[in-house]
C-alpha cells in the first residue's frame, strides 16, 4: 500500500484512473463527472439566504434548481479526497501565495487574493456561459466526442495559454 503515501503518481496512472472512474459514473450514476454547475447552485443558495425565495424564480435557477444534488456531493468529495491524499503523503500545507506567482509578483497576500478573486469571477462567469468546465467539457464531454465540448476545451486552453503568457511573460 506504499503507493497511497507517495506524493506524486505518474500523470498517466492518474489519467487512466479518472478514465475508469468515468466508466463507473456513467454505469452507476448515469451521469458524466462535472463540477461547475455546483458553484452556480451554491451561489444561488447563498443569495437565497439574503434575498429569500424569490431567487428560485430567476430563469437560470429555474433551469438549474437550487438543490444539493449528485454533482454537489461530488464537489464536496473532491475536497475530502484531495485532503486524504495530501495528508497520507505529508503534502498538506497551508499556503496562500504559490511559488510561480511569488517569483513574478512578490509574496504580498492581498495582491494574490485580489487576483484570485478576479480570476474566479471570470472562471465562474465563463463556465456558465460555456455551460461547462475543465471536467464537464474538458474530460467528460470530449471523451463522448461531443462537438460543444471539443470547441469549449480548445477555447479554455487558447484563452488560458494566451492569458498566462500575457501575465507572466509581459507583465510579471
Amino acid at each position: 500500500m506504499e503507493f497511497l503515501t507517495q506524493v506524486r503518481w505518474s500523470p498517466y496512472a492518474v489519467g487512466i484512473g479518472i478514465g475508469i472512474l468515468s466508466w463507473l459514473s456513467f454505469l452507476i450514476s448515469r451521469k458524466p463527472i462535472a463540477c461547475s454547475t455546483t458553484f452556480a447552485r451554491a451561489s444561488g443558495m447563498i443569495e437565497k439566504l439574503f434575498r429569500g425565495k424569490k431567487v428560485d424564480l430567476k430563469p437560470y435557477y429555474h433551469k438549474e434548481k437550487l438543490v444539493v444534488d449528485w454533482q454537489w456531493m461530488l464537489v464536496m468529495g473532491i475536497v475530502i479526497g484531495s485532503l486524504i491524499s495530501a495528508l497520507l503523503s505529508g503534502d498538506f500545507h497551508w499556503k496562500l501565495v504559490p511559488s510561480i506567482w511569488e517569483n513574478a509578483f512578490g509574496s504580498a497576500p492581498l495582491l494574490r487574493v485580489i487576483a484570485a478573486l478576479f480570476g474566479g469571477i471570470c472562471l465562474g462567469f465563463g463556465a456558465r456561459w460555456a455551460n461547462g468546465c475543465t471536467s464537464g467539457h474538458g474530460i467528460s464531454g470530449t471523451l463522448q466526442l461531443a462537438i460543444s465540448s471539443w470547441i469549449s476545451a480548445a477555447c479554455f486552453f487558447i484563452g488560458g495559454i494566451l492569458t498566462a503568457h500575457l501575465i507572466f511573460r509581459l507583465i510579471g
Binding site: 471570470c122 456561459w129 471523451l143 462537438i147
Partner: protein, 189 residues
C-alpha cells in the same frame, strides 16, 4: 402506494448522493496525486513548461472514450453530450480560459486545492467563482436571446455529425491521442 413510491424515490436519491460523494473522493484523491490541485502545475501547463495537466486529461479521455463507447456498443450506457453553440462555447470558453490563467485553478481543481490547504483558492478564488456564477445567472435572461444561441448546433457528437459508425471516429481519435502523448514523452516535455 403513493407513500411507498416516494419512500423508494427518497432512498434512491440518497444512494445517488452517496455515489456522488464516493466518486468525488476518488476524483479528488487522483487530482491531488497528479499534482493538479497545485497552482504551479496548472500555470506551468498554461505557460507550456509543464505538461502534467494535458497528460492527465488526454489519458483520461483516451481511457474514458474507449470504455464508454465500448459500453455504449454493448447497450450498457447512453451518452449525454451537452448541447452547444458557437456563441456559447467559443466566447464562454475564452472567458473561462482567461479566468483559468488568472486564478490558476478550475472549478474541479479548486475544490482539490482547498483540500490541499491552499488559501488563495479558499478565499479569493472560491468567492470569485461564486460571484461570477451569480453574475451570469443575473444576466442570463439578457444574454440568452442575444448571444448564447448564435450558431446553435445542438447536442451532437462527432460520429453523429459525420453520420458514421462510432468506431470510425473513436479509433483514429484514440490513435492520435496516443501518438500525441508518445511524442510529448519523446521530446521529454
Amino acid at each position: 402506494m403513493q407513500i411507498k413510491n416516494s419512500e423508494t424515490k427518497s432512498r434512491k436519491d440518497k444512494y445517488s448522493l452517496l455515489w456522488g460523494l464516493a466518486f468525488g473522493i476518488v476524483f479528488g484523491f487522483l487530482l491531488q496525486k497528479g499534482g493538479a490541485t497545485k497552482y504551479d502545475v496548472i500555470i506551468g501547463q498554461l505557460l507550456l513548461t509543464d505538461m502534467t495537466v494535458v497528460k492527465i486529461m488526454l489519458s483520461a479521455v483516451l481511457t474514458g472514450m474507449i470504455g464508454i463507447y465500448a459500453m455504449k456498443t454493448l447497450g450498457l450506457v447512453e451518452l449525454y453530450p451537452k448541447s452547444g453553440s458557437f456563441g456559447r462555447n467559443i466566447i464562454g470558453g475564452l472567458i473561462f480560459g482567461a479566468g483559468f490563467a488568472i486564478l490558476g485553478y478550475c472549478p474541479g481543481t479548486i475544490a482539490g486545492a482547498i483540500g490541499n490547504g491552499y488559501l488563495d483558492a479558499l478565499t479569493g478564488g472560491l468567492a470569485g467563482i461564486l460571484i461570477g456564477s451569480g453574475l451570469f445567472a443575473a444576466l442570463y435572461p439578457r444574454l440568452d436571446p442575444v448571444i448564447l444561441n448564435k450558431g446553435d448546433f445542438g447536442s451532437i457528437t462527432l460520429p453523429k455529425l459525420l453520420k458514421v459508425n462510432d468506431w470510425i471516429v473513436v479509433t483514429p481519435v484514440a490513435v492520435l491521442i496516443f501518438l500525441l502523448l508518445y511524442w510529448l514523452e519523446k521530446i521529454s516535455l
